[in-house]
Amino acid sequence: MFSTGSKYFFGITFLGTIAFAIYMLLISESAIGGTALFGLVGATALLTGLLLFTRDGSNGEEGVAASAAAPTKSIWPLIAAVGTTLLLVGAITSTVVTLLGVVLLLAALVEWSVLSWSERASSDSAYNASLRKRLLNPIEFPVLAAVGLGVVILSFSRITLAVNKSVGAIAFIVLGSLVLAAGVLFSVRPNLKRGLVSGICVLGVVGIVAAGIASAGVGIREELVLAKEEGHYMHQECGAEKSEHFDKLPLEGVSATASVDTYIELIDGKLVASVQGFAGSQQSITVPRSNPTNILFRNKTEGEYRLVANLGSKTVADGVKEEVVHCTQLIEQGFEQLLTLNIPKPAEAGKPFTLTVPGLAGQSIEVIVP
């Protein structure tokens, strides 16, 4: 009675109705989401009716070309079911689960449709299977490879975060050499047994993943935990001396070539500003309020210096004021670093904002915020 096509649409209509109900009752009464789901239910219900009425548009004859063999066993219905479940569960728990459901459903949709289409392509089931492969292998292999690589990389990153820095380096070298050795082995011995090759690969991957899971259990190494707790990389230390954490590896900071509003140069101990659009150098710069302004500091003086922006003070709690100070790292002669200022309010009268260099008295550029 129910034709194949109508069953399919009936299924979607049914699931859509459930989704609609769950959405409206449990998640949110949003007009947009409700309309979308209701539209889906309406459209598929209409298609169900149409297909029932026309019996999938068949004129009563059996397809001549279709294979007589029973359909292949397939895992995709199961995956589609899991995907649908995740979709619904995700709607209540978290978007990650929903996304996983969507991915599984999409995969099932593609694989299942191509599979059932290929099974009816001719009466030769071997040919049909090759057709399926020709269409899907170019997608399946890269996707599987990417997922596999992702798992390996993630596991390895857990390992390097957990172990001591130098141990991590050694692990990296050892692993790299092992991969290289396996590669060399496989290429000089092309006749190795398939089982042996896959055995080696699986063993390697399982080893890394297991080590990764173990490391994730152990957690990141102490030094990093401490850095995070104490905010080593967030907290700027703007004095003249080299600070232990903030001034680490200044040359690895990213500079900028475009989007620089103002260049502040320390030339032979003198601080000068050159502003895009202005001819010559300036002793003050004007910065519109609440607008990120990129300032590039260049040290052209022997020694290491940093640029410090003194931006007044702000109230952090009732009656408690804190100085607002931003700075670059200590920059060697001939190097530069970007400092982005976003100043929400003008300076108080008599307390101008300035750019200075610690350790160099008398050098200061005023920052005017109108």
Binding site: A258, S259, D261, Q276, G277, F278, A279, S284, I285, T286, P288, R289, S290, N291, P292, N294, P344, K345, P346, E348, A349, I368, P370
Partner: protein
Amino acid sequence: MRRRVVGVVSGIASALFLSGCATNAPQDTWQPKGPNAEIIDNLQKPVFAVAGIIGVIVTVAVIIAVIRFRDKGQPIPHQSHGNPALEITLTIIPALILTVVGVFTFRTVFDLAKTSDTEMIINVTGQQWWWEYDYPVQNEFGITQPIITSGQLVIPAGTKVLLRQTSRDVIHSYWIPALNGKRDAVPGRVHLNRIEADKPGIYAGQCTEFCGLSHANMRMEAVALSKADFAKWVANQLKPYTSPAENTLAKEGETVFMNQCVRCHQVNGMKRADGTPVIAAPDENIVSGAAPNLSHLMSRNTFAGATFDLLNKSCREDVWTADSESFGAKYLSGVSEDCLNQKDLRGWLRNAPAMKPMYANPALLTSTGGKYRGMPNLGLTEADIEKLVAYLLTLK
């Protein structure tokens, strides 16, 4: 039937053609009023002519071919493969035309990008949905302290002004067609844009990069004043704040303003009763982090992204139609009580989002952490509005 179609088509065509001749078209791209726009005009006119002639030739040729060679049952003509001489000629001619156009286009682009001859600099910052202008200190123009204003860009005529454009939120584009081409204002970047007006006058423009709900209401005007008038304008902008006299309606308005408006709007020099300066905190209340500075509101004659007039109809007419001699004095007289466009200003204070679409519904601000895009409806009483208007009129 056929007659009617021809009639309708030619009617539409002539309407389109005649609309090109509108007299009140302040954003006409064919009427340059300054050297930069002229440079563009000198390029676009010949290119338009060449393109027009070629367009006519091609259209006529197509029509002739369609009519002469239509299927009348004649035998299929002799089929030949190409004609090298003709094809090469027909490739070389357009290539030559494009090369010539290209050379002049590049020259124009470089001319317009020149900044070495700048005489004056103004920072232009776009945000949803109005433009802010700030004038860095430039002693040669008497600007001894930064000036900040919005909506109307005031420049000295005959002066090469360089706009340093940026944006506080999304991409906008600054375009005063009579003075130059358009240039985008992009967050995090500073783009340079030259403008110069030959004569005193007022030149209209509009944001030309779609920027959200009220993009169509994000307008601007450039006001060019003679050098002497510009100096007067600067002097007026630098005039210190004077609080209204005690026991006046305006003084009460100042109190309402301090309670309701200073959380967004800065009025330079305003002090509380205890003498502490009033510093606005638009960064805590608005997504872009800025609201128009109202220090000298009544010295400009439009508001809310130059969408509404501060001048009533007849006073506005008087300024816009003034010749370049008398324009400066009329503009500098600002907005007096008699000239004030009471209806729109009161409407704005009563319910701003009703006049200009803005995301300013307090119930819908979760995605912005409680910050508005634009000015909200503050639910003021009519009595408060009365006081505020009296107060705003003192901000000259």
